[in-house]
């Protein structure tokens, strides 16, 4: 059983955590693509910016001496999400709305989003330097170890407190988003506009409002994803810039414009990355006892070496674009 617990620790938990982060980021990208029809590269900076907002708030809380039972990062998350949503609205108003008004092509908006990426990245580095920060400097990062000797494992099941909360929060927000999109009037309007923007406009849907709500959701969820990533690893200026492509991969694999597809794609990419670098010998070692000598397993038996972990997402992306460009959930076609 030790092997199975090891597998759970290495693949199921870390894949789920990574998948949740990818999914939250990909929802924003996919919604923006659905409504505004352009690939929003600056989403990575919404994530990093959101994480830094949460970090500043958490530092403020620590300075005021407020002690919370759960990690401060999660307590300040709602406030940070509101601020990040305002930031997203401001970016839209300052950079994308004038271009849209001029009737610029989606390509121009894409390039503008790269400009925004560079500016925010430059500003974050200007104020915070290039070093890394941790949410857990003033408080301990609690690690739960479940004793698994009952089912015959010598290793415990390990999961950290932020990871448990992260999975819970993601689940709740995805559920909330689902109800918003299917039950509320505004959510239905959003889906209608993603389907056919012109038709939505002539049938009396307030498209300006829909665009605004899209930015609010994207900013808030992006902030959530960034903060969670920073809570799981460390906070640094290129936090999300490095994973924006796996997130795009998740959105495309799920089908651009499809919110549920983004969640499926995020989990798929997360698990694919952890499974690809997983050392299968750790799981299959008991087989060595029954296998003949010439078939003994080598000490490392991973599909790809660890340094190629991020490459897995790109390979999946390229294969998806080739084989099924609409993604799993039939998004906008290429």
């Amino acid at each position: 059983m030790t092997e199975l617990i090891f597998f759970t620790n290495q693949v199921i938990i870390s894949g789920l955590v990574l998948g949740c982060i990818y999914a939250l980021g990909a929802i924003g990208i996919t919604l923006i693509f659905g409504i505004l029809r352009f690939a929003h590269f600056a989403h990575s900076e919404l994530m990093t910016g959101g994480a830094f907002i949460a970090f500043l708030l958490a530092s403020l809380f620590a300075a005021w001496g407020i002690v919370t039972p759960i990690p401060t990062g999660f307590v300040v998350l709602p406030i940070a999400m509101v601020l990040a949503a305002i930031l997203a609205l401001g970016i839209d108003k300052g950079f994308y709305a004038p271009l849209r008004k001029r009737g610029a092509k989606p390509v121009t908006l894409l390039i503008a989003s790269i400009g925004v990426t560079l500016m925010i990245q430059g500003l974050i580095r200007l104020f915070f330097g290039a070093g890394s920060y941790s949410f857990f400097e003033t408080e301990p990062k609690e690690v739960f170890r479940f004793d698994m000797t009952a089912i015959g494992s010598t290793r415990p099941l390990v999961i950290t407190e932020p990871q448990v909360l992260m999975i819970l929060v993601t689940f709740v927000s995805v559920l909330a988003l689902h109800f918003f999109l299917t039950r509320s009037r505004l959510g239905k309007a959003m889906r209608a506009m993603a389907d056919n923007a012109d038709l939505a406009q002539v049938s009396g849907i307030n498209t300006t409002l829909v665009v605004r709500v899209t930015w609010i959701i994207a900013g808030a969820l992006g902030c959530m994803a960034g903060t969670m990533l920073a809570l799981d690893v460390t906070l640094k200026p290129d936090l999300a810039f490095n994973i924006i492509l796996p997130i795009f991969a998740a959105a495309i694999v799920g089908g651009l414009g499809q919110a549920y597809g983004a969640i499926a794609g995020g989990l798929l990419i997360g698990f694919a990355e952890t499974l690809a670098v997983f050392n299968w010998t750790m799981l299959l070692r008991p087989l060595n006892a029954i296998l003949p000598d010439w078939m003994q397993l080598p000490p490392t038996l991973a599909l790809v070496p660890t340094e190629y972990k991020l490459t897995v997402a790109f390979v999946i992306l390229v294969v998806t674009l080739l084989v099924r460009p609409t993604g799993i959930f039939k998004g906008a076609s290429s």
């Binding site: 690939a39 790269i114 560079l118 430059g122 790109f314």
Partner: protein, 429 residues
């Protein structure tokens, strides 16, 4: 239009003179050589984006390929590797690769023997897996052996002339562009952008981690110059300061000759029927198809041509700085910067791309010392007021150039969306 271009180029010339006066001639001469290489790369992107409307965001990958190619051709031969088991093992890995390719090709033809539909798809996936395992089983021991002391550490170079390396960089980039284009060019703009970024990241991961071939993060240096090095000129009795400038001037001359030939060729192509066809495809590919143009083939053609220039430019840069360091390649410095150059300069206009490349490269390199000066000034000012100095000025000003780049592109998109020297659209009436 011509007057505007002349004014802008005149302004650029004054800016270069000013920079030479303030920052010193050695600094400026180095930056000018780099600017010439970047101009070549920008012309490559201008062909792809300005002529053909192709959204290539994988420039970094082609620059890396060019750099690796010139390193491989021009670096001195590694005798330990060639005397060891290494070449034979690599040969076996190559055979395994060919065998794997055959298996995959065979699986794709499975419908000939009656296996079709889902079974064929499953068979193809299985064939890919077998091919991958076969290749890895031969390559991994070869790589481990070559990276050990007995194998010589890495493959080394071929000791050829650097110009040959530039040519090889172009050829290799063309080969890769052909494969990438075959895969991606059917995709719409945004998808093409993301796919090419993905592929350039794959190329970066490969070059960075294939230590046996490129030495990876250990970096390779010194890579020889195609023109005499300052040290060689000094051996001929020249003073150090003079030799630096003369050597760079000769290199710059070579770069400008290459640039001039390329500019002449692609301007001729733009004005000719070929260029007209490309613009027709860019502006309305459906109409072009209905006129009987093979859009996919033409786009592949233009993608390969542009990538050749990027490969050569990347090779020129690596030759000049004499070091190939795969971890120094970043999407911001090597993909987005080029895009800003072309868009600010004027997509579709070669002189615009050239102007944008030189201007942006100068802005990129001076924004660090400039912001340091500004920070220093503000810092002394705030110290006088008793607010304390700005901490870590060096590190902060190094980050400012990213911000400046973002600022330039957003301003350009807002106020000069067609660029400073826009494309001239001729209308026959």
């Amino acid at each position: 239009m011509i007057q505007r271009s002349l004014t802008l180029f005149g302004g650029l010339f004054v800016l270069i003179l000013l920079m030479g006066g303030v920052m010193g001639a050695p600094f400026t001469s180095s930056r000018l050589v780099e600017a010439a290489a970047y101009a070549l790369i920008a012309l490559g992107l201008n062909i792809q984006w300005g002529y053909g409307g192709l959204f290539n965001f994988g420039i970094m990958g082609f620059l890396m390929v060019g750099g690796a190619a010139v390193t491989f051709i021009s670096y001195p031969v590694n005798p330990v590797f060639w005397g060891s088991e290494g070449p034979a093992m690599l040969g076996r890995a190559l055979l395994a690769f060919a065998g794997g390719a055959l298996i995959v090709l065979a699986a794709r033809k499975a419908d000939r023997i009656g296996i079709a539909g889902k079974w064929k798809a499953a068979l193809t996936v299985l064939a890919w897996f077998i091919a991958y395992v076969l290749y890895r089983s031969q390559l991994d021991p070869a790589a481990a052996y070559i990276e050990s002391a007995a194998g010589g550490g890495w493959v080394g170079g071929l000791g050829g002339h650097p110009i040959l390396g530039w040519v090889f960089g172009g050829v290799l980039a063309a080969g890769i562009a052909y494969v990438v284009g075959k895969i991606c060019l059917g995709l719409r703009t945004d998808y093409l952008a993301i796919a090419t970024i993905g592929i350039s990241e794959i190329i970066r991961a490969l070059i960075k981690n294939m230590d046996w071939l490129t030495r990876g993060t250990l970096t390779v240096s010194p890579i020889p110059w195609p023109t005499p090095l300052p040290q060689q000129l000094q051996a001929g009795g020249m003073s150090i300061a003079d030799s630096l400038l003369t050597a760079r001037a000769i290199y710059l001359l070579l770069a400008i000759v290459v640039l001039g030939v390329v500019l002449w060729l692609i301007s001729r192509a733009y004005a000719g029927p070929w260029g007209r066809m490309m613009r027709a495809i860019r502006d309305n590919h459906i109409a072009a198809t209905s006129m009987g143009k093979n859009v996919t083939a033409r786009q592949l053609e233009i993608f390969v041509f542009g990538s050749v220039l990027m490969g050569i430019g990347g090779a020129m840069l690596v030759s000049f700085v004499q070091i190939f360091d795969p971890s120094s390649y970043q999407p911001i410095n090597h993909t987005f910067l080029i895009w800003v150059m072309v868009i600010v300069g004027g997509a579709g206009n070669n002189w615009g791309a050239l102007f944008g490349a030189v201007l942006l490269w100068l802005i990129w390199v001076v924004s660090e010392p400039l912001s340091k000066a500004v920070f220093d000034f503000v810092s002394t000012w705030s110290t006088q007021f008793g607010w304390g100095a700005i901490p870590e000025i060096e590190a902060r000003s190094a980050q400012m150039r990213v911000f400046v780049l973002g600022l330039v592109i957003t301003i350009a998109l807002r106020f000069a969306p067609k660029g400073l020297i826009p494309e001239v659209v001729k209308r026959e009436s």
